[in-house]
Amino acid sequence: MQHNGILPAGWGKSGRIAAIAAPALILAGLLSGCAKAPPASDTADYQAYQAQNDPLEPTNRVFYSINDKLDRYAFKPIAKGYIAITTQGIRNHVGDFVTNIGEPARLIYFAAGGKPRDAGTALVRFVVNSTVGIGGIFDPATHLGYPETDTDFGLTLAEWGVPAGPYLYLPAFGPSGARDAFSIPVAFFLTPMEAAPASTAMTAFGWSQTALHLVNTRAQFMDAIDQVQATALDPYATFRSLYRQSRASQLQLIDQRDTPTVPDWFPQPAAQAAQ
């Protein structure tokens, strides 16, 4: 559950400098506030501290508080207005459109991570949804047996064996980690807009797409975030737990789907055997 961050990946061309500089600035800031580890002699507490793997918790909580205020007074009201003037169907199509723009990047992430079938699925999805799906507004690929499998560079690094590292709560971006933070700058370059010839129209499209993605994503998580903030005893810890479980689940799904499959439109082996 990667939410309560403000900016989605794939922010746009103009943000690349900020994206590259951000991890360095963030790390510098983070190092200024570290949680105090319990003594190793206190076995249970020390093991819990290690499992939590959030040595920068004091600083992370400061960023969480800043993001929370930004969200409460800026992004949430905008998202509520967006919900008021759109239907769930429209929001679904916006989500499909944004997802489709991300498929070429997924293809590369999967290929780099040694997941050829997932990469093939991303390719088929992009081709089918960009054409039959009218530029990605519709998602016929899922109905043909090619469901979306989300990924990013952080998960590619995980496939390479890079450990998750300490938990990070990034300004604007929200829950992340020492490994996953690298997916932010990479995502800025891996968009179809980067491959297209530079133009004012393309820049405007990139920013518009980013803004739409941002608002649509926040609207999508409206109830979930409200629920956590209303009922959790410690929303920061709850989001941290959800983020980590979600990442582990994403990795599991990537591996699970990178197996020989038969699309829905192809004669199923079981059906053939029965004939």
Partner: protein, 205 residues
């Protein structure tokens, strides 16, 4: 956008959230499926009935106490701090845990209106039997929710809700553990925060 389905499912399922830890005995997939089908039908009937919110809240709390292993869930959520807590603290924790669950259900009742429930399949996952369902709400995308079922005291009970690969009992446990560790390992601090949260939710209702 399958992820959206899971997230929306989390919202729907959160009030049932609690969820227990220790597998007492395994339930067969068919039995688990039948149990979740029946429980889901009861839930839908209560939520969509033409009654007041207060009546629905009361009926839902009764239903949840019947189909969810709330005490076991509480034990799981408290985790290793159960051995640290005094008998009085443990007893107070269970009382507050039940109250929080009840308040969370009341908080979500309006969001439940018009809910639909379809049971898909069931399979054994580790020590649990997980029943996959699809939950629908008017104006919302369908949500996939997994219900982990164990046999507790001879009867099937829900012990976890799994949405988008996230276990709600683990999430709750981490939430509570964070409060305790932030307060020097004191269970009394958790009890205070739980009571404050109950007061806060009730004040906002």
């Amino acid at each position: 956008m399958h992820f959206r389905r899971y997230v929306l499912g989390a919202i729907t399922a959160l009030p049932m959230l609690s969820l227990a830890p220790i597998a007492r005995a395994q339930v067969s997939p068919d039995a688990a499926k039948a149990f979740i089908t029946q429980s889901g039908q009861q839930l839908v009937a209560v939520v969509n009935a033409d009654t007041s919110t207060a009546v629905k809240a009361q009926q839902l709390q009764t239903l949840v106490n019947q189909i969810v292993a709330v005490d076991n869930v509480g034990d799981y959520v408290l985790g290793r701090y159960k051995s640290v807590a005094t008998p009085a603290q443990y007893s107070q924790f269970q009382t507050l845990f039940h109250q929080l669950l009840a308040n969370n259900i009341t908080y979500q009742i309006k969001a439940f209106q018009g809910i639909g429930f379809t049971v898909n399949s069931a399979s054994v996952v580790g020590n649990d039997t997980v029943v996959d369902t699809t939950i629908t709400r008017p104006g919302e995308a369908p949500a996939d929710v997994g219900w982990a079922v164990d046999e507790i005291d001879g009867a099937p009970k829900i012990v976890d809700v799994i949405v988008a690969g996230t276990s709600l009992r683990i999430t709750t446990r981490n939430d509570y553990a964070s409060v305790i560790t932030s307060n020097g390992g004191q269970v009394s601090a958790l009890l205070t925060v739980m009571q404050n949260k109950i007061n806060q939710i009730q004040a906002n209702q």
